[in-house]
Symmetry: C2
Subunit: 576 residues, 2 copies
């Protein structure tokens, strides 16, 4: 028995559901409506279009086999009707009718449906400040905006840019402006760090340092208070409490909000913050109406709480689940672990699960293992240090999250993806310790970064490794009087350690090389708390264990070591 | 209470156990004995040392912080005694004594132990043919051999090389000879394919094609019957049933066998093929004797059967497990999924779990999904096709294995590592469908390759996708009369399809472009079995579903499509 399916929204989840359902039920009648004229595009590709890596916007609307996904494509290749420039006005749930309006002709019509799907997406958050409607102020909301932004840059109208918002899109846009176009770009973020709530501050600091190296001016902890314009109504700058920054273009990338008015007006349950409430078959509170993509509320699989996860990859997987369920197959979508990855110039930053900060706030007995291993065999050409952090619950030993930072290649991706799987299944430190990662020297160290991070976590849980928090250590480095009985025990090579001894003095920076500790331990002072410091933290742990054994228990390990502090861009390194 | 631990074997598992245990029990007395003078090295790095990527062998024996791991290092930095050039002769289990012999002085002594660990490693298999003892015939058994091989190449003594054995080490050595030194290299493998029992034949064929492109002469299905020498006893060539190949050097890389005589002579249980039998705490049949690394038998987590997995990464993880158990912590090592990865020139090949061929042999209701997706967003610069195959059981839907082939970067690694985790936990197709992989265009497609392969597997299990085996299709392409009622339905772009129509004739190669099938389906013949062919197989599936719907059920899909056949190096492509 053929059914009539209507889908509101034609970007990601909607077309995916439509195409999948059409393969499951080729005889069903499927209509997609979208307000826009451009549909079914990879919105995540917009920064790469703006920077020029992607030369034409149609590539973002094309299949991998180079056909543009327009109305004709959906009609001819897919057998799906798409009504563009068509706005969904209201849902008559009683009579199962959707009222839609053609935005060009103004005509309204009613579409009957057996099942309805809402994939209405999100809209960018517009800051509640003056000047957001000036000419030259953009959101990264859709392809039309992207086309206009690129036109302005490529025609030489943009010398200076301000990006408001240090989330993924903000950072990607800042890179796009700076890297390929040489635009003088500032990035401002209201919160004290970039990627707030996505990564912990150490990782945000490493990202910020790299952006600064790449000539992006980054101001964290500074919100935009006003966008300034000239008399012609054109943007000329952005004000913060600290400064005024000149700009020919301003990008507002301050997050997105679910587009859920249609659902709310129809009486469907919608979270206070706007996400459409769905069950794990992605059904709304009306069983004949499904929802997926950037408009829904989903579940965080670690906290069990409602969350918002607007991401193209999730929209696609959710769309497929809706397609299955529309066809009568009970596929489920249980929630997300928040797997995240981003390119920033020559670096990659990624995470899965929750941050340490979130874990503490959620009441977990949380701790973290910060490590700085080689991304492949240390003798293999091109090897580089990566930084990983495992967040875990000390009571249950459940791994709650993992973060990674390293060179721009796929090696961070490899570890974060594996971690995402394990975190989504509630796995514990032991699972990470024993995870069998494919090994050869060009791809990993013999002890993979995932295993290594779990070993550190295990040592912490067992009480064998006592560490100092990176925050406390850095605060002390700013002001030794904050912890007057602390000193560093630097076990690195003398060539590395000596400049620090010279700068900070022997009373604050004690040097005994790693391989000599067993012979020279009597030189190590007993009257101070010693922060043991090496490059990555692993030798420091070894030394701590030995010193504990001989009765010197006055030590703390700096996990991640100087590999991490250097990447965080601290200003206390001796000049070389 | 201090204990005395003796460890036989100082390459990977042994030193790892020793160092880990010393951190857990700093007061214990740990002695490692090894026959060799060079210890604690990354044997997997030998091909990279030979090719020159690694300039000095000491790098393979160094820590990531550039200290050479020699006797002094273990004594001073680790507090562990290492006796080099010392052979373990026999174990007196009753009195817990190990008799060792100094290979230089000939002196024997007895070492008391509370617990003993055997990490005696493996020895290369010496082919039972004439000439294996000729000058210039090498195994890749240890660093000394590697040093000698490199010396001969770098001093211009090697113009032609033959590598016997198409496993990982054989392929890596062939690359080392060819790529950096320009040695004319032949690789011969007795079995019909490279990497036998590791990957299925499609993947082996893609690897072989790439090696041929890189000027390695590859002969599969050809065993060496004799190694030929001149009157001075120097190697001059290798004979196979098909040919004689000249050689200045011959590498025997025909696999390794466990070194387990010591264990066997002591009355410990040893598998008929030589692997020392251990429980999941890595205890031998004597609870005071542990074993780990290349000398043990382990368990294949998919089949549940005994297997052999000599790999540096496993040796390290096993070593840590032994260290834990020696210290009284009941860590377990349950077995392996056989995660494997290898660089071959500009390609990467990897797998986890078992092959389709093995799955069938093991009695699973096995099938496979062969896919050829983009390794990142199709619009992102540098995007390339990867090939993945998911092997699964149709009854239980359990995923049994995954294989990948693509460019030499970490993107195959990312998918195989995630798959290895899921396979090790017995996960099913649904888990792969819903796996949340971190997404951004520089790192993956919006639908990750793992998800995409699982979707195909799901379609196969549900009976929605009927495919032709790649083997049957290729056999038919060799001889159309083998299946006289078959024809291809090519739905690619006409520019791609037409040369094939021209070459093979309209009766064998029917062309209807994908986007026109819904309009032109009446042209599609009913009187033949149609093999639907596109680039990757996804459009073919869509077309099959549509044709089924309109009643044309005479179709089979070529999974993986022409992307796979092209990489397999078939010879029937029209000249371009």
């Amino acid at each position: 028995m053929s059914k009539k399916i209507v889908i509101v929204g034609g970007v990601a989840a909607g077309p995916k559901a439509a195409c999948h359902l059409k393969r499951l039920k080729p005889g069903w009648d499927i209509t997609v409506v979208d307000m826009d004229s451009l549909i079914s595009y990879g919105g995540c590709g917009i920064p790469y279009y703006v920077c020029g890596d992607v030369s034409d916007e149609s590539e973002l609307r094309s299949t991998s086999f180079h056909m543009v996904r327009d109305v004709d494509f959906f009609a001819n290749a897919k057998g799906i009707e798409v009504l563009i420039r068509t706005k969904a006005m209201s849902i008559d749930r009683q009579n199962k009718k959707l009222t839609v309006k053609n935005l060009d002709s103004g005509e309204e019509q009613q579409l009957d449906y057996d099942k309805l799907m809402l994939s209405t997406g999100a809209r960018p958050f517009i800051l509640p400040i003056d000047g957001t409607d000036l000419d030259g102020v953009f959101t990264v909301a859709n392809l039309h905006k992207a086309i206009e932004i690129k036109k302005r840059i490529s025609t030489g109208q943009v010398g200076k840019a301000v990006v408001i918002g240090g989330g993924a899109i903000g950072v990607e846009m800042a890179e796009a402006f700076t890297d390929l176009w040489g635009v003088e770009t500032s990035l401002i973020e209201f919160m004290p760090q970039l990627l707030p709530n996505i990564v912990d501050y150490q990782f945000a600091a490493m990202l910020k340092t790299h952006l600064l190296e790449k000539d992006v001016a980054v101001y964290t902890g500074e919100g935009a208070t006003e966008i300034l314009g000239n008399e012609e109504g054109k943007v000329i700058g952005v004000k913060t409490p600290e400064r005024t920054i000149e700009a020919d273009i301003v990008i507002m990338a301050a997050g997105v909000r679910p587009r859920s008015e249609l659902a709310k007006d129809a009486g469907l349950a919608v979270a206070p913050w706007g996400g459409i409430v769905v069950n794990n078959r992605l059904q709304t509170t009306d069983p004949d109406i499904y929802a997926a993509g950037d408009c829904i509320a989903t579940t965080n699989l670690i906290t069990g709480k409602q969350t918002y996860a607007p991401l193209g990859s999730l929209a696609n997987r959710e769309g497929r689940v809706v397609g299955d369920n529309l066809a009568g197959q009970a596929t489920v979508f249980n929630g997300v672990v928040g797997a995240f990855i981003m390119k920033a110039f020559e670096r990659c930053i990624a995470c899965a699960g929750i941050t340490y900060e979130t874990a503490v706030a959620e009441g977990f007995d949380a701790d973290y293992a910060l490590t700085a291993p080689s991304d492949r065999a240390h003798f293999f050409p091109g090897e580089a240090i990566a930084v990983f952090q495992l967040v875990f619950d000390k009571q249950t030993r459940r791994v709650l999250g993992m973060q990674g930072f390293g060179l721009m290649n796929d090696s961070i991706s490899a570890r974060i993806d594996a971690a995402a799987i394990m975190i989504s299944k509630g796995m514990v430190i032991e699972d990470f310790m024993l995870a069998e990662m494919a090994y050869a020297p060009p791809f990993s160290a013999a002890i993979d970064s995932i295993n290594a991070a779990a070993f550190v976590a295990d040592n912490i849980c067992a009480g064998r490794l006592r560490k100092v928090g990176m925050d406390r250590f850095l605060a002390w480095m700013e002001d030794f009087s904050s912890e007057p009985d602390w000193a560093v025990l630097d076990i690195r090579h003398p060539l590395e350690a000596e400049p620090f001894v010279e700068k900070f003095g022997k009373e604050n920076w004690v040097e005994v090389p790693y391989a000599e500790v067993r012979q020279r331990y009597e030189e190590i002072p007993d009257n101070k708390t010693l922060i043991i410091v090496c490059d990555a933290g692993t030798r420091s742990y070894e030394v701590q264990v030995f010193l504990d054994y001989i009765g010197k228990t006055n030590t703390l390990v700096l996990s991640g070591g100087m590999n991490v502090t250097r990447r965080m861009g601290v200003d206390w390194y001796p000049e070389s």
